[in-house]
């Protein structure tokens, strides 16, 4: 299974750039949310999902460039998928407790 998908990295990267800019603006300067509840929910959910997958796919890309054998890459891909699911669950849980989701 190949996780390195060019289009996914581009789309998630552009989304994250705007979403994180908004997140930092709210956190540092406004200390409040600018978005309506539904929009804030979708943006936060997007940050959790896209941040996790973008980071893990990027990490695998770095590892790929080191010339890891194909079988090890497959195992690594599945480990990263499992990490991604756990990470997304943890982030979602934390955001729920902060009232962001």
């Amino acid at each position: 299974m190949q996780l390195d998908t060019w289009l996914f990295m581009r789309i998630s990267g552009v989304f994250l750039m705007f979403a994180l800019a908004l997140h930092l603006l709210e956190y540092f300067f406004l200390r409040t949310t600018l978005l309506a509840p539904l929009a804030a929910f979708l943006v936060n959910l997007g940050i959790v999902g896209f941040c996790t997958s973008h980071a893990l796919v990027g990490f695998k890309r770095v590892v790929d460039d080191q010339g890891i054998p194909h079988r090890a890459q497959t195992v690594l891909s599945w480990i990263l998928v499992a990490c991604g699911i756990l990470f997304a669950y943890a982030a979602t849980d934390a955001m729920q407790r902060f009232g962001l989701l």
């Binding site: 060019w6 990267g13 750039m17 941040c51 980071a55 990490f59 460039d65 080191q66």
Partner: protein, 155 residues
């Protein structure tokens, strides 16, 4: 690999994997990131020095942000509100402000450099000179964001 493509796209924008490179360059041994970059630019690193720095920084900031994101989420799991979060961070790390400043700089540079690569792939930034300007803009804005954050968290 076309020479023109190398002029307008640095390594991070390139889709070739090491396996593809091995097909193009038989006899390629297992190599590290720097060697792969040298190979993909046919050793002309001096001519692409800024792109090389941008590529290396993109990788480093990406890896740094993976670690920061993991720490961020783990910390969030242990607290229930913003004040508790900041108190927890300060209790665990005397370097909170430094980490925050570096994280903001990494986010800004990684985002803008990623945008440059996406625009390059889309053909919107076809000239090598435009990439140079874009890299400088990304770097200057990252430093400006770090300075703003430093004033904010230290002031």
């Amino acid at each position: 690999m076309e020479e023109g493509r190398l002029f307008t796209h640095d390594l991070a924008a390139h889709l070739a994997t090491l396996d593809e490179l091995k097909e193009r360059y038989p006899g390629l041994p297992r190599r590290g990131i720097a060697e792969v970059y040298l190979l993909r630019t046919r050793g002309k690193v001096s001519r692409y020095e800024l792109g090389a720095w941008a590529w290396a920084l993109h990788r480093l900031t990406g890896l740094g942000l993976v670690a920061y994101l993991a720490a961020h989420v783990i910390l969030l799991l242990t607290v229930t509100n913003q004040d508790e979060l900041e108190a927890s961070i300060r209790a665990h790390s005397p370097y909170y402000e430094i980490v925050m400043v570096l994280a903001i700089g990494a986010i800004v540079f990684h985002s803008l450099n990623g945008l440059r690569l996406a625009l390059g792939d889309a053909g919107i930034l076809p000239m090598r000179g435009q990439h140079k300007v874009a890299i400088w803009i990304a770097g200057v804005l990252a430093v400006a964001a770090m300075a703003t954050t430093a004033v904010r968290v230290l002031g």
